[in-house]
Symmetry: C2
Subunit: 172 residues, 2 copies
């Protein structure tokens, strides 16, 4: 009895992306109530040399897509990275969830030992197994960006609780 | 071929707790250079109704201990929650890592379907399987608190990068 690679990836990413989308809903409600321009929240950040909210959300979706896409050997979904409003970020999350749900357990299960070589934009090359990519890299990065998006919005004074971040487990 | 519960828990918690400890080292160096009282950093927070740094670190260690302890059916390590300095927080992390490393794969492997009932301080009772506790609850909460500790310190102007958060994978 062990955990399948599918169970450790797709339903988890979907749960927390759905939570992130609900967090953005509360940000949109806040912005409307306070007459805040949407671009203001999208560009909020916790430090001058940290990514703003919009990049945190893009990074979260990218880590989910890249992890599951690579495990499945599927063509990766990509975006123009031009989102300029909360509805556009939510649309990116919807498309990400649709992509993840399009992957079948049979495509991902058994990918623990799959050799995955990634060339980063810097030119650096790193080699992973499916398991090390998912557990040591993609999930931690994904949670890092989901949490930082939440933290940015909490810092802006938006009423959020851990429950919003956690979302609800999904059966897939 | 699948992932074992041990591989998905102990080495992951150890990797990111070690990263968290290194993040605290940089905070201590910063505090010394800037003549900041240690208690100031420990009490920094991103919003008035969010936990300060000291509680984020305590929560990260607690989620790691409680997850692995429950999966293993081992007696849980607990603390007086009286840490008042960065060295004391780092000591808590050391003890947590020692506890995690004391658990053997045979104690944790096979706990996917183990029924785990948790009574929260509020009195609420939630039922988990080993797998749902680890994947849907403990790891996300753990990453939430590790990331928020990092975010608090980044917001304070401490020079940190994602690499500090990520730590280094460990072979256990």
């Amino acid at each position: 009895m062990t955990i399948s690679m599918y169970k450790a990836s797709v339903p988890i990413f979907v749960q927390f992306l759905t939570g992130l989308s609900a967090v953005l809903d509360k940000a949109a409600t806040f912005a409307e109530a306070k007459k805040v321009e949407p671009s203001v929240l999208l560009n909020m950040r916790l430090a001058p040399n940290m990514f703003p909210l919009v990049r945190q959300v893009r990074a979260a979706t990218d880590h989910a897509i890249n992890a599951c896409g690579r495990l499945a050997g599927a063509e990766m979904l990509s975006f123009a990275n031009s989102e300029a409003s909360i509805p556009e970020l939510k649309e990116r999350i919807v498309k990400t969830i649709d992509f993840l749900k399009s992957l079948k357990p049979a495509q991902i299960d058994g990918s623990e030992d799959k050799e995955i070589k990634i060339t980063f934009p810097s030119g650096a090359v790193r080699e992973f197994t499916g398991q090390s990519l998912l557990l040591n890299n993609s999930l931690p990065n994904f949670y890092f960006h989901c949490t930082t998006a939440y933290d940015i919005l909490r810092h802006c004074g938006i009423e959020l609780g851990k429950r919003d971040f956690m979302g609800t487990p999904v059966q897939l």
